[in-house]
Symmetry: none
DNA sequence: TATGAATGAGCCTTCATTCAT
DNA sequence: CATGAATGAAGGCTCATTCAT
């Protein structure tokens, strides 16, 4: 009965998507350390289903952000082409990156925690965002000049950290600080 | 019996110091959310002793960092006098601040978490470090010029965030990023 | 799979009942303040299971006694109809109430403790037993006459207190004292 | 140096009295299960001093109430002589007993708990209050007539229980219930 | 494959009790 | 004798994780 198998697969995929959507919502509200039970409840599934689809929390975190990460990476070449200068492109891209990060409570801290379970996400960012960022930085280096010692990875970690917000340090503050950091990255020619 | 009382007090002080030392060490290894039991074990005391001396975790965290915070604050006016320029003083001071923060895993995140129990520490930093930093920023503003929107509090939060290190983002990286942020804070005039 | 779900639900219900039975037994032996762990051990389950079924101690206490309370309340109208006089009915009903209370070590004290967590139980008794008792008292007042100032609530509190037994004051003593109290409640007219 | 010994003894007695006073106050506020530390703090002494003078909590409870118990016992013969009838004397005496008990939060429950550590207090009451009460009951039996099965001990336990007050059952309620109980004890002959 | 009941480790916190000074 | 710092047992509660159905 190939059809029934297909139906099952479709259903399984639906379940998986539901968990992802729920996890994304819960992560925004409670941070990436939210109890698994909360995610399962929000998705309307049992905790076992969450574990079946995402054996570790890192798997779930990674899956939740994969699409956004990919989209963010894909933005880089587009901005580079459309912008007046490489540095403008970089600024616009980091803006998008900040928008991505700023609602992910605890993600920056989690990334910086060295938690071995988050290597998947770490690798994902290395594989997609870092090259995207590097493209922009290379263009800046060729065009405007860039201070030495500014690697794509380090810059993204720094930006990620600057996006850890709180009661007296909000998204606007984060954007301002990131902008200043980027300004500092330009060579003074 | 003043002597014996004195002996007891000295011993108590020794115990308290031991707890503080143990807590400082455990905080470096595990972050400020480390189990109280671990701290007690490291100090070679019972958990009750930790609670006797520091009823809340925030009391302990605050006590651990109070001296370093005070020392850091006291550094500001000295640097301002000794340095060639206010901006140099600011750079040197942030260097010291980074040195203070960089081993305090989770402190930055904890400060930014809005945890009500850590308001003591928050207040301590507001009361001591922010004014110290503000002095330097004011001098910079008067001398070199400073981009608008850079408040002492926001800058320190940003620096605090930049000091959340990890496997591929170490103290040197943090210092470099902080330096770039400061550069970005200078008015280009 | 409706069957398997049914099986699970049945098993869950069995577990819940087991916890209730265990709690009832432990309450008799140790009082309603017995450690949750003891109840879990007696039921042969983990503490988590107790908490899953009864998030607070009050939930557990209430559940343990709900059936008996309901049964006791339901007894009142029956006795009123079957008995020769309202006062006889009241006497029989309080006998049943004493039988209910006398093995519940600490329940009377707990009810009187003002513990906010036991408001559920307090409310349960107010909502079920007090009206039942009031019915009987009203009938007595109409028929035999009753001394003033005897409210159902106060009377039940008094009876509850009289049922706190001990080594030299047992159930028979409690019953005798309650009987004397009721006698005292009759108007001598 | 006999004087210095005397001075020490006086001082020791002073300390002991201070602890008793403090314990009495704390018992009124928190009940007889109050933390030893609270009593020590209130007395301005160390916990060790409390333990030295009163090795067990029961020792302390007993000592605290001994004077009041003795006074209450001494009241019985006086009332018997001064009152118009034995039953009036009994009523007045129980009133005094209620006044004694009603502020002793948890004492009634403690007495009824069967706690072996409170046997001292138990014995104290058996030795002093029960005979006093028995005198009154005997007089009532001779004069008014008294229902059978009312022993001094049981009656006092019952009264003790009736004095366990709470938010909706206060001292006035307790007095009213005790009065009704006593009324019930009279033979209707 | 999905479920969610059950488990139990782990952390928190309080307080009775001891004992060196 | 008095002190109170230190101890650690005891109990509460939460959640990650497993597994029978």
């Amino acid at each position: 009965m190939p059809e029934s198998v297909g139906v099952r697969q479709v259903q399984a995929q639906r379940t998986r998507s539901g968990v992802l959507r729920a996890a994304a919502a819960v992560f925004v509200e409670q941070g990436v350390q939210a109890p698994v039970r909360d995610i399962a409840d929000r998705a309307g599934v049992g905790v076992g289903t969450v574990y079946r689809n995402f054996p570790t929390r890192a798997d779930l975190v990674t899956a939740v952000y994969r699409h956004q990460i990919d989209a963010c990476a894909a933005l880089a070449p587009r901005l580079l082409q459309e912008s007046a200068s490489p540095f403008t492109a970089l600024a616009l891209w980091t803006d998008a990156f900040v928008d991505f990060l700023v609602t992910k409570h605890g993600l920056g801290a989690a990334l910086g925690s060295g938690d071995p379970g988050l290597e998947n996400l770490h690798a994902l960012m290395l594989d997609t965002l870092v090259p995207a960022c590097a493209t922009l930085l290379d263009a800046c280096a060729a065009d405007d000049g860039l201070r030495p010692g500014v690697t794509a990875y380090t810059l993204m970690r720094a930006i990620g950290n600057l996006c850890i917000t709180g009661p007296d340090y909000d998204q606007a503050d984060a954007k301002r600080m990131v902008a200043l950091l980027l300004t500092g990255c330009r060579s003074t020619a």
